[in-house]
């Protein structure tokens, strides 16, 4: 077991994938010479050469489409999109092509493509680089959506994503790259199930990605105040592991969903809907959610902090649900 940063864990996974399968190659803006905007692919160009670590022009539509073509042609491409904000330029390729090819071809073609993208705010890089659109992708049949939130998951989830015959999108929250965690040599994570990060009994705090450390910090504060909160990390945003969510909610009978996306139409809304559909009679209090303020994410530090879910807001929501 070694301690490494989320960034190093992701790089380790990429290195293992490149070394283990000659069909795997990396492609994206600045992934080669510059080492990746978030320095994830640093050193890989030197290690594997320009055939397998390819810098692309600034055209998401173009290089995601090229990735789809390579996947159809038998390769296992890993395409990096700098942030989810820019992936909107490639939505047509992802939604109309990658997600639909199995269906449109009557099962003759599959697109074994992995798209990695950074997401989220908190680094003062302003509105056009800070949004969270995980819920958009999580609503599309035909693709899988992962959100590893720990170093262990960052290392573990890439290999099964590559092995999957359909397109898989991996969201890496920009705030997580510098977080550290222990990573075991053997793989722990799959790409089907959610994980209970902190067992508890009084309220189920359901979250994913960059909000997980905030939820855990809030749970620590609550524990000091006598509230035993369970923290559930979704890990897989599509398909949602509804069984694990319901098991946690049925145990705690109260739930707070923490989601960095905007409230309206958020993934939190979908999770709450599923809880109410399937566990209404187990609930002991109305559900609550902590989401981002419905504004473009501000640049100024204090405004950005105010717009995002924070541990204090999670604590307040939990206390409100508990009637404290």
């Amino acid at each position: 077991m070694t301690t490494m940063s989320y960034r190093e864990a992701m790089r380790t996974a990429l290195r293992e994938a490149l070394a283990g399968d000659p069909r795997v190659f990396l492609m994206g803006e600045d992934v080669g010479r510059y080492g990746g905007t978030y320095a994830v692919t640093k050193g890989l160009l030197e290690e594997f050469g320009p055939e397998r670590v390819r810098d692309t022009p600034l055209s998401e539509l173009g290089f995601v489409g090229a990735g789809i073509g390579a996947a159809l042609g038998g390769m296992r491409p890993i395409v990096e999109v700098m942030t989810v904000n820019f992936s909107l330029l490639a939505l047509d390729q992802i939604v109309n092509t990658a997600a639909l090819y199995r269906h449109m071809s009557g099962g003759q073609f599959s697109v074994p493509l992995v798209i990695r993208m950074a997401t989220g705010a908190g680094r003062q890089i302003a509105a056009q680089h800070s949004h969270s659109f995980e819920n958009w992708y999580a609503s599309i049949p035909g693709i899988k959506v992962l959100a590893p939130a720990t170093a262990q998951d960052a290392r573990d989830m890439l290999a099964p994503a590559l092995a999957d015959p359909d397109p898989v999108i991996i969201f890496e929250h920009a705030q997580l790259y510098n977080t550290e965690g222990e990573v075991t040599a053997e793989r722990q994570a799959d790409i089907r199930t959610a994980a209970v990060r902190r067992p508890g009994t009084m309220v189920s705090v359901v979250t994913y990605g960059g909000s997980l450390p905030k939820a855990l910090a809030a749970a620590d504060q609550l524990a000091a105040d006598g509230v035993d909160a369970e923290v559930l990390d979704l890990r897989v945003l599509r398909p949602l592991d509804t069984a694990t969510i319901l098991a946690s909610v049925r145990k705690c009978r109260r739930a707070v969903v923490v989601d960095e996306g905007w409230r309206t139409g958020s993934l939190a809304a979908e999770i709450m809907a599923r809880i109410v559909e399937q566990a209404f009679y187990d609930l002991d209090a109305p559900l609550a959610r902590v989401c981002s303020a419905e504004v473009p994410i501000p640049y100024a530090r204090h405004l950005e902090d105010a717009a995002l879910p924070q541990p204090a807001g999670i604590v307040a929501a939990v206390n409100a649900v508990l009637g404290r």
Binding site: R253, F280, Y281, D282, L283, D284, A285, P286, A320, V321, L322, G323
Partner: protein, 234 residues
């Protein structure tokens, strides 16, 4: 023997102060007649009697504050004799002396040991007062609490809520059920039942449907009238 007990006159009432007796021992009383004035935390309220009878012993002195459910007085049922009626110990005055209860004139007090009445104050299962919801609003009860109360056969209206916005939670129901199981069955059971709370502004339960009123000159149809109707039809 009829026991006249202090009813709960409001959702937040757990005791009351006797201000006045409106009848004397020996007076005949009718069901629905106001017989005493009791001060709650909010107002002086006329308290009515629920059965016809004759006022026998008034056990609580004017000015005493007693819990809800305390026997204020005993009444003789119609036909019951004062000579054979059992006697109760009157409540001591604040000075510490135990006065003889006010007894109906002409009803000779029988000599014998006084029997202390069991005082069973009405409490909510959790001991907390149950606030009635504002008019037009439902009292919040969590789905889990409602389901469990139904399972246990527990009346959810009698359970105090401690959850968000005063909601009844699962824990409240479990506690209320535990209290219900633990509490010995009082003899007689404490009045009034929780399902029918008395409110100061409406001390008499309203009839759900107004009594049907006949025209003052209405008479039941006679056989002759029916015959007339029949022949008119033919």
């Amino acid at each position: 023997m009829i026991e006249f007990k202090l009813p709960s006159l409001g959702a937040d009432m757990d005791e009351g102060k006797l201000l006045e007796w409106m009848v004397k021992p020996g007076d005949l009383v009718k069901r629905g007649q106001a017989v005493a004035v009791v001060d709650t935390a909010k107002a002086a309220v006329d308290v009515e009697i629920w059965q016809d009878g004759t006022m026998f012993e008034q056990l609580v002195p004017i000015g005493a504050t007693v819990p809800v459910g305390t026997v204020l007085a005993t009444l003789l049922e119609p036909g019951e004799s004062a000579a054979t009626a059992p006697r109760r110990a009157a409540m001591p005055l604040p000075g510490g002396q135990a006065p003889a209860p006010a007894v109906a004139a002409g009803m000779a007090p029988a000599i014998g040991p006084a029997v202390a009445p069991p005082v069973a104050p009405t409490v909510t299962p959790t001991g907390a007062p149950i606030a009635a919801p504002p008019p037009g609003q439902r009292r919040p009860v969590s789905p889990a609490a409602r389901a469990r109360a139904q399972e246990l056969g527990l009346d959810i209206d009698g359970v105090a809520g401690t959850g968000p916005h005063g909601a009844v939670t699962l824990a409240d129901v479990v506690l209320a059920a535990a209290v219900r199981t633990a509490a010995p069955v009082a003899d007689p059971p404490p009045p009034p039942p929780l399902r029918r709370p008395h409110r100061p502004w409406c001390p008499r339960p309203r009839r759900l449907r107004p009594r049907r009123r006949r025209h003052p000159r209405w008479r039941p149809p006679t056989a002759r009238w029916r015959c007339a109707r029949r022949s008119a039809r033919q």
